[in-house]
Amino acid sequence: MKDKQNNCDCRENLDRIAREEKTWQENLVDKRVQRFNLEKSPTSFYTPNATQNFDFLEKVGFPGQYPFTAGNTPFDFAKANEKLAAQMNFRPDWGGTRGVGKYGGFGTAADYRDYLKRMHSMGRFGGPNMAFDLVTQCGYDSDSPMGEGEVGRVGVAVDSFRDFCVIYEPYTGDLEIDKVPSNFTINAPCAIIIAMYAELARSRGIAPAVLRGTPQNDILKEFIARGTYIYPAGPSLRLFRDTLEFMRKHMPLLNVNSIGGYHIREAGATRSQDLAFSLANAAAYIREGVNAGLDPNDFLTKFTFNAFGGSMEIYKEIAFHRASRRMYARMLKEEFGVTNPKAMTIRQPITAHIGCSSTTLQRTLNNWARAMVGGVAAGMTGSLPGVFPPWDEPLGLGHSQEAVQMQLDATRILMHETGLTDVCDPWAGSYFMESLTDELEADALAEMEKIQGMGGAVAAIENGYMPKAVAKSAYEKQKRIESQEDLVVGVNCYTGEHEIDVTINREVEATYDPALMASCEERQKATLQELKRSRDGKTALSLLSTLRTHARDESKNLMPDICECVKNDCTLQEVCDVFREVFGEAQPVKL
């Protein structure tokens, strides 16, 4: 025992507590259990014996310092400007010139451009936060038979650099792309979109070096969840490497990626699977950068995470975020020799939340109460107490103004009325929370070791391990709900005839014009046809052929070729088809 520990933790004291606990268990707990005719106590209680040899500096440390268990910073931008936000009636959903606007996208490039213009005219600025349609995400052009019926549906269709430029037409002057950032939620064809972004800047006489924003660029999780992969995991990782090298060299302010633990949990992963798989993916990306000769102390400052998954189990979610920060920092330090503290934090927009999969269609308004719990957990894990998602999420009709208002207000109530976020890591030192954090960390580490034993994330994707594990966990969860082992209010309990389904008015702002949606496929195809007619076809063909040759050489960085291709009007699918030819296509996982 080190002398810094006071007598509360000394051996005799712990022994005394253990003896007292035993007596308490027998005299009080067991008798109550008997009285209520239970098999065991429905509650637990933690004493210092749960965290024996607890070393505060090793396990927790100070907020903003290794191992970051207590938080990435003592307080973040939002906390620093909390009062100001109230004074200026700040609405994060509208975006400011500092950040990106609301996530979205639909129709043709021109449709989305007009939508963005309309938002600007309403005072809702912020950079484009682009959702791409599934056709683009899967590397097809709008005229591909694979994309029939899906063009412009869940996001904007981008077939070419010309489309990309059209979207950015409203971004000039005060909103010039050297002033506002952009987000791109795209993975398999991400290299192409990054090339377009760089070429857009160059075409406007702006150095790509000043561009800001975040491409999702997290292809590995697509194999585990979400499913918009194209090529096998190995070559996909090579394309990631090429973007990483390119961005560090030419676009150093741009975030490299947004690694998703969120999707993995939504797909059904358990907490420890979510943590282990996300970190295993992160490790694969880092290894790729290190193997390319890049310094992780540098490039990791531009890695971000797209939040991890969430659940209603508030304690476990808090422990999850404490464990994830610690595990990531330790992994970087011990495995990759990272020393720069700025490179060791999990940078993510929000921390704890309940996850969309916790929301229910039944008695939908209850989701507001559910999301509030997530906000409380977030506030206790070092971030804005973001209440997420809006309660009408499971209706699948777009969030209503009312639901978004209630979501915003719930967050504001937690921010301003409760003092929830006035303390960093309020759970630090809790016997219960520290042991829960250790337990989760141990589970996740064991899972990571398993993956390492297979040869890392790529191998555990190719042999189907990670996707299958997630599918099985999802099914186990479903079985627990159907057997009423897990209770979900309004779904498998309290469903009697006297319960009331409370509804309120829902007005979904007419964001996307249904008439435009209906005609976008035809219009987008016409634009594409026009492009193919008017471009210099010979140059396009020869550039694609160069790209093909270089793609076969694993040591070549393909970004300069991709830049040339997009600049000369090669389409997104044409570039992807070259890679399909050279890399092959990913195999679906057999259940």
Binding site: G464, G584, Q587, K590
Partner: protein, 332 residues
């Protein structure tokens, strides 16, 4: 309007119509006949009788190997190559039934993307169904129906675990065993029954490290094994995903069709086994049905549990039923 009315259709479509459909190349009739035969619906044997003379032309290839060896992907590549050479192909993809629910998850199709829509190809997923009626016989029946339908080649892809696969590939003319690098124990498992029936070894995923070692291991085992005087089976390296080695593999299969195990003695042995399997199933089905109806089986179990008798005496006392069974067969 679209209307789900499955049951009426089953009842209303007769065996004759379906058999006629199969002869005319109707895919739905083919699929339905397979279902009815697989289910052992009344009349199935008569249907098989009338299909039997139509077949006998197709070459049946059995593909087996450990899970994860890439059998489905290989089947996909091989089938594609066969089609390119002008063959039509039927594929039977076997997956295990759940011993608890009797249901099954059949997912091999999803690895056969290149061929699922080719008109020359017919893919049928088959669950082991607790090997009721003999798994080998089930696969053999389907293969025979595909043969009668006019498929030139029928590929049977097995589950890849245990005794089942040895059973299934007995229905094949040529058996191809798939190995991959990095599965040392997989090769060990081969020793248990598979070596005797393999006509061809494939080392798939040969772009991976250790492929040559696997080839050497197989060669080593073949050197010391007794394969009844047959020529040494070839060992071929492939990478099904990259479509490498597939031409060589299909060349070897085609050659095998010509030179394969066509010895009369082997064919006779196979026919004999089939007859015995069919008879065994029939008798067992008959007995079980009878015993369950009369309650004799339950009574016997009870007797044994209460230590009043023993299983051997029970068998002897139940045997008269078999004679009855054979009599009733003669009369029908």
């Amino acid at each position: 309007m679209y209307k789900g009315a499955r049951v009426e259709t089953i009842v209303s479509i007769s065996w004759e119509t379906l058999l006629d459909g199969v002869k005319k190349g109707n895919v739905r009739s083919l699929a339905r006949i397979i279902t009815l035969v697989e289910n052992r619906e009344p009349g199935w044997k008569d249907a098989m009788k009338s299909l039997y003379p139509l077949g006998g032309k197709a070459k049946i290839v059995g593909i087996t190997g450990s899970p994860g060896a890439g059998k489905s992907t290989l089947t996909n590549a091989v089938a594609r190559d066969f089609v390119a050479r002008g063959y039509t192909v039927g594929i039977i993809a076997v997956d295990p039934s759940s011993p608890f629910s009797g249901g099954a998850l059949l997912g091999d199709r999803l690895r056969m993307r290149d061929v699922v829509t080719l008109p020359e190809i017919f893919i049928r997923s088959m669950a082991t169904r607790g090997a009721l009626g003999g798994l080998c016989q089930g696969a053999r029946d389907i293969a025979r129906i595909l043969d009668a339908f006019g498929k030139d080649v029928v590929i049977i892809e097995t589950v890849g675990v245990g005794q089942d696969e040895v059973e299934v590939v007995k229905a094949a003319d040529l058996v191809m065993v798939v190995c991959v690098p990095g599965q040392g124990d997989g090769i060990q498992a081969l020793k248990a029954g598979i070596m005797e029936i393999a006509d061809l070894y494939v080392v798939n995923k040969a772009d991976r490290e250790g492929a040559d070692e696997v080839v050497a291991d197989i060669g080593g085992m073949l050197d010391i094994s007794d394969n009844g005087g047959r020529p040494q089976p070839p060992v071929i390296k492939t990478s099904a995903l990259a479509n490498q080695g597939i031409t060589e593999l299909v060349d070897a299969l085609v050659q095998g069709f010509e030179s394969g195990r066509n010895a009369d003695s082997w064919q006779a042995q196979r026919v004999k086994e089939e007859i015995l399997t069919l008879v065994e199933t029939e008798i067992l089905d008959y007995l079980r049905e009878n015993w369950e109806r009369t309650g004799d089986l339950d009574k016997a179990v009870e007797g044994i549990l209460e230590k009043q008798t023993d299983p051997y005496s029970v068998v002897d006392s139940l045997l008269p039923l078999i004679r009855e069974a054979s009599r009733s067969k003669e009369t029908t």
